[in-house]
Amino acid sequence: MRKRFWVLTAALAGSGCGGPFPQSALHPHSDFARASDVLFTDIFWWAAAVFVVVEALLVVALIRFRHREGRPAPTPTHGHTLMEIAWTLAPAVILVFVAVPTVRTIFATAGGAPADAVKVQVIGHQWWWEFKYPDLALTTANEMHVPVGKPVRVAITSADVIHSFWVPPLGGKRDAIPGQTNYIAFQADSEGDYSGQCAEFCGASHANMRLRVVVESDSEFGRWATVQLAGPAAPTPRTAAERGKAVFARSACIGCHTIQGVSPGVIGPNLTHVGGRTTIASGLFPNDSAHLARWIADAPSLKPGALMTRMQPPLTDADIAALVAYLQSLK
């Protein structure tokens, strides 16, 4: 416990990389996050100074003027105009030092980005994230990829209720509001795998609406985009994966999920390249056979309220195993 405390303190003190705190606002990794952090640090020290002065005054008053036998009755002072003016002006002056950089940062981080910025459209759903890259004409879910050192402009909206898109190491949150589009812009300054999650209460599984942002080199980003743009991998004939494709095509899956060339559903996440993602269920579980099988069999038991209900009649274990093999083949 104690050791953890010092680790924590050290981690907080150093600006270091994501490390043990992948979702920390205190470890900024983009210009946007850094601007907020600088401002926060600035205000923090003003606040700390005021805290020390005022609490010290309070403690000194309590100690110095505590009741003692034989102390003469206090002079009944009623006020002091000059002092009132002084302690009205002092906080006002400090606030000017806070307000000026605040307004400057508000306008600097208002979501504007150069025309050649990578554009990502984020759509919040109960309870997962859809990412579209309009310039690349590709759609994916729950894991967003962006190139390092390039401006990124994120357009945020929602398909149902209000959500809030928040990846603390890359910057502050913006609400995803149905019928409205909000923008943030950032330029990530180091490669890495950053986590975020929905920050506006959005119903039963609000806690389970997580996401990851993979910041990678320009060439890796290009390779990722090429893979995403290609059609789904065709399963090898006479394998479990091929049987899985048949199961998928004859089950309710197709009503909600898109796999290019196989099914057109748009209610759930696009699965064309689901095998290439590191997590499933909006960042809840690693993308491995065991979790995938449990997820397909009974999603609501893993994620309360999930719209992907248990299939009726239930799929057989063999069908589920085949489906898992198929989905994993969709790299």
């Binding site: 005022v54 002072t77 302690w87």
Partner: protein, 596 residues
């Protein structure tokens, strides 16, 4: 028993408010403990997601509307008429009506925990689950089909009527029933803050009434006030809710500030420093509280200009707040400070409120706030303000006025235990939340990943919450013990300056045997300008007429929850029954002979 049910005596109604609100405070506290137990470790599974969402919704709703506001109301009721030298409030039966509406509204809300089976759901299934802030469009029938949100919005509508009735009552009381000679600038600070609070109540509650009426229409009659597909925007709800919600914050804090402004002078044996400035800054806070609502909405995307303006108005509000704090410290400075439990809590208020105020400045800055809003950082902030602030202030009031209200002094020894346990507990519970939030934990989540690295801090916070629970247990023991063995208080155990200390404890039903004439701000103290007043005689020189009780306020109040059952159960005839009961109550009340 009958005399309590029909009472119109402001003192009895004050005690009813206190014990009812304290019971709801315990319920809200138990909800908080379950929440903290769930979050003690990552991937906790003590309760389900659905239950957790109901718990945090009801914790917030209960603490704001059923605990803090009515606890303040218990002091408005008991103390304000005594401080201004009145025999009762202006409208005693309306006062009883306010209480019964509050009690029934609270029971209506909390009944939702148990009545699931009536709605073809389990117990603990249909309590409100949209958050105390109930953001549209999650609260629309499409996304929240069950009766949960119905309970919430109907319950709040009922409670709003109670607050509005009490608001008008106390404004009229304070403006019209002051003792001869008590000019506005001689009114005690607590009564002044009560007056400001009531003006906020009567102006802010209509806003949420409208917002809730829109939601009610959306849910029951298929309108689209908050539906974006129909061309409206759910953001309308946020504007309306926070237009009410921010003044509400001052409705919660100003009474506690008033209490502190009474307790400090009494125990420092010094008049309140800068009385005029403290009063005016209270009024200013009341006004400015109306111009800051969008600071709850910096992540909504209102644009840089709106964000800048609301940031500036929010920072400005720190000025009158800071002025109050400096005046309180100046009140202590040069005094002869008696370290009573009441003083401990009053000083605790100042010390903790400073922290809440300063963290407030950090989220007055929108770019910084975008990393803080909707995280545990804000949970820390509101608990420093409302627990470290309001609750500490209310406990200062409880220890200060308990002898006046019951005739017996609470144990100082147990009181100190209570204070220190609560002080340590609250800092342990709420301070780590600042870090938890900055490290990336959003609020209102029933579970979190161990990867966030906030597990130890959460455990610490849970331990703190249980320490707070222990401190409240000590307080309950103190109340029970005092009832039997508490030291008799006499008229004035503390040497107070204001009128309530000039009469016996508890005061006779008519309060003042002779209505005092007030010649200055500190009538019972000797200052360089004047001698202390003479207390009213123990027995009235002439008989004093005291009106009897009435059943009709309670009957009228009963009509409201019945009326609310109609939309809840989609049954029209119940509405007619509710209206009939309400009208019958009002009719009988209106034509009740004055002299009973």
């Amino acid at each position: 028993m009958k005399s309590w049910l029909t009472t119109t005596d402001h003192k009895r109604i004050g005690l009813l408010y206190f014990f009812t609100a304290f019971a709801f405070f315990l319920i809200g506290g138990i909800e908080a403990l379950v929440i903290r137990a769930q979050l003690a470790q990552p991937n906790g599974h003590l309760v389900t997601a659905e239950t957790y969402n109901q718990l945090f919704t009801m914790h917030g709703t209960t603490m704001v509307f059923l605990a803090l506001m009515p606890l303040s109301a218990s002091f408005f009721n008991y103390i304000v008429p005594l401080q201004i030298g009145a025999r009762d409030v202006a409208f005693p039966r309306l006062n009883a009506f306010s209480y019964w509406v509050f009690l029934l509204g609270g029971l209506f809300l909390n009944a939702s925990w148990f009545v699931g089976p009536l709605f073809h759901a389990g117990v603990l299934n249909v309590a409100p689950d949209g958050g105390w802030f109930g953001y549209a469009n999650l609260t629309e029938r499409q996304f929240s089909p069950g009766p949960n949100i119905d309970f919430w919005l109907l319950g709040l509508q009922i409670l709003g009527i109670s607050s509005l009735a009490a608001g008008f009552n106390f404004i009229v009381t304070i403006l019209n029933l002051r003792a001869p000679g008590m000019r506005m600038m001689r009114v005690p600070a607590f009564t002044w803050m009560t007056l400001v609070t009531q003006f906020l109540v009567i102006t802010a509650f209509p806003v949420i009434t409208v917002a809730l009426a829109f939601l009610m229409f959306d849910r029951f009659f298929g309108t689209h006030f908050y539906v974006s597909q129909a061309g409206a925007t759910p953001i309308l709800w946020q504007h309306l809710f926070w237009l009410f919600g921010h003044p509400e914050v001052y409705i919660l804090i100003l009474p506690a500030m008033g209490i502190v402004s009474e307790v400090l002078p009494t125990f420092a044996r010094k008049p309140l420093f800068g009385y005029t400035v403290v009063v005016y800054s209270g009024i200013l806070i009341g006004f400015m509280g109306w111009g800051v609502w969008s600071h709850h909405m910096f992540s909504v995307g209102l644009g840089p200009i709106a964000d800048s303006v609301f940031s500036a108005t929010t920072m400005l509000i720190a000025v009158p707040t800071g002025v109050k704090i400096f005046n309180w410290i100046a009140t202590l400075w040069g005094g002869d400070i008696r370290g009573t439990t009441a003083l401990h809590f009053a000083v605790g208020f100042i010390a903790m409120f400073i922290i809440g105020g300063l963290s407030g400045v950090t989220h007055a800055s929108p770019p910084a706030d975008l990393q803080q809003t909707d995280t545990y950082y804000v949970v820390a902030h509101i608990h420093y303000v409302l627990f470290g602030g309001t609750i500490m202030g209310l406990f200062a009031g409880i220890y200060y006025w308990w002898p006046k209200m019951t005739g017996r002094l609470l144990s100082e020894a147990l009181g100190k235990w209570h204070f220190w346990l609560q002080f340590v507990g609250m800092n342990l519970a709420f301070f780590p939340m600042h870090l938890i939030g900055l490290l990336g934990m959003p609020r209102r989540i029933y579970t979190y990943s161990p990867e966030l690295g906030v597990s130890d801090l959460n455990l610490l916070s849970t331990i703190g919450a249980f320490l707070i629970a222990l401190s409240i247990l000590v307080f309950v023991v103190n109340i029970v013990r005092t009832r039997r063995r508490g030291q008799r208080a006499g008229n004035d155990p503390w040497g107070g300056a204001t009128l309530e200390w000039s009469i016996s404890s508890p005061p006779p039903v008519y309060n003042f045997s002779v209505i005092p004439t007030v010649a200055n701000r500190l009538p019972r103290w000797k200052t360089e300008h004047h001698e202390p007043m003479r207390d009213p005689p123990g027995t009235p020189p002439a008989p004093i007429h005291v009106p009897g009780g009435s059943w009709w306020p309670m009957l009228a109040a009963l009509g409201l929850p019945i009326l609310a059952l109609a939309p809840l159960t989609h049954t029209l005839w119940i509405a007619f029954v509710g209206v009939a009961v309400l009208l019958a109550g009002i009719y009988l009340w209106a034509f009740e002979p004055f002299d009973v």
